[in-house]
Subunit: 283 residues, 2 copies
């Protein structure tokens, strides 16, 4: 398999990879200085700063914003709360637009407190995205549904496969005007027996809005905060990239490593150097 | 949804639920005394005892053996090791026959050491089961492929959904003479967006050989040893049982709770009483 090595201008850093230890403007400067072409910031960082100033900094550095993280969860026990969740997402979407984000990353939420009704929660997610989609069109930021690993189905996301996310996109937006698609994260999807066909379908439908990389460690010691740096785990990252490129994806490759006990303890510039080296060798 | 409460004679205890703290003969007596109709023992327990004596004890107590746990992993880096793994499984299968086990539980194994080739590991699993199946027919014990939760794809099982397990069964044994099927464990499968249709297909194919219950805790603090007692988590167990019964499953319901920091610390009889109560109230 012959693959072009990734050029860093095609690569982006999700700021979570650095552990959110510094103010966002410092992080942005580091990412630009290291030669990356983009970043994906989080709401709590942007909201703690001045979104207008952050947007100007990003533009001045000519960085792309490969995603804005992330949606308020959709499911809730009451109708009022579900509406409030959508309103919260509309506010974030306005910030995403100001930042020039290529997509708003939709981590959709798990079961509402006290519920065991997965099917109802999935319906709430579909309906919530349906109600939100018109806002996305008005505001001009595409929504990227990110399927999360099945181990997060209880608490974080009842959308757990690419096919499931794509089915929602097709149902809500059958003509695909570019405002509803899927974010593919290798960490969440690498195990899926349907992975190749699911990615191919995303390509056919032109729904792939983002591509996130990290690695699955063996053993994994924490279900949330023990992701591996690319190359340190068992995901065949070159084969994965080959699949997404074969499906027509020509967008950015975003690094998103949650690693409380390892990478988040190292100096940010060292983490960025490692990301750069691994992106160019194993991805 | 109206469901018959489970009678304990239809219920079985996987011995792991008691934490393997006592010799198997003591555990078997406890399970019978508590009124359960069956058990599922593990190889290391049986092999540490006298299989013939254990088999006589089980017959005398009129307990069913709902499964024998579990297969040696199939994938390996060398052909010799893969053959040795099958031979190890053949030996276990003879013990399963002596115990009168309704099936041999096949946890198929993850990626071989140093490999990132999930597709190759899956092929090794299919080929290994294929080579093993004739032995199962000769020895007279059905093989139950147990799909494991995707979070175990790296280390324990590259078979991660019911549909994937059933596809292997169909491929290797298209005419279904009763020696290759699937063990369905709610812990591994509850999140699956294809769950209802996958179970229905299993029913149509008459491939469902076992049904295991426990619960998914929110939060889950350990990826292996923090399963919940039925009713303590977020799995809709009544709906799950309704699906499997609608698909024609009329076999035993086996409790399999790995719970190092909770149930494994409590007195075995108390754990069994709780299993009995929960089986009859929430399952």
């Amino acid at each position: 398999m012959i693959m072009e090595p990734l050029h860093l201008t095609r690569c982006s850093i999700n700021t979570a990879t650095l552990g959110h230890r510094e103010p966002l403007d410092v992080t942005i400067d580091r990412i630009a200085r290291a030669g990356f072409g983009g970043l994906a910031p989080w709401r709590h960082e942007v909201e703690a700063a001045d979104v207008n100033r952050i947007a100007r900094q990003i533009r001045a550095l000519e960085l792309k914003v490969t995603g804005y993280c992330r949606s308020t969860y959709f499911p809730a026990s009451t109708h009022e709360q579900r509406l409030a969740n959508i309103q919260s997402n509309v506010r974030a979407l306005n910030d995403a637009a100001e930042l020039g984000a290529q997509c708003f990353v939709m981590v959709v939420g798990g079961l509402p407190e006290g519920s065991r009704d997965l099917s109802a929660a999935r319906t709430q997610v579909r309906d919530g995205i349906g109600a939100f989609l018109d806002e996305a069109r008005k505001i001009g930021v595409p929504l990227a549904i990110e399927p999360l690993h099945p181990m997060y189905a209880g608490e974080r996301s009842v959308i757990n496969t690419i096919d499931q996310a794509n089915a929602i996109a097709r149902e809500l937006d059958p003509h695909n005007d570019g405002f509803l698609g899927v974010a593919v994260d290798v960490y969440h999807c690498w195990w899926d027996p349907q992975l190749e066909t699911a990615i191919a379908s995303l390509g056919t439908d032109d729904r792939m809005l983002a591509y996130h990389v990290s690695d699955w460690l063996v053993p994994t010691t924490d279900m949330l905060l023990d992701r591996g740096m690319m190359g340190d785990g068992v995901i065949d990252l070159k084969r994965f990239r080959q699949s997404v490129e074969k499906a027509g994806y020509a967008g950015m490759v975003e690094v998103e490593v949650f690693s409380r006990d390892n990478w988040w303890k190292l100096p940010p510039d060292e983490v960025l150097q490692t990301c750069a080296a691994r992106l160019q060798s194993v991805c």
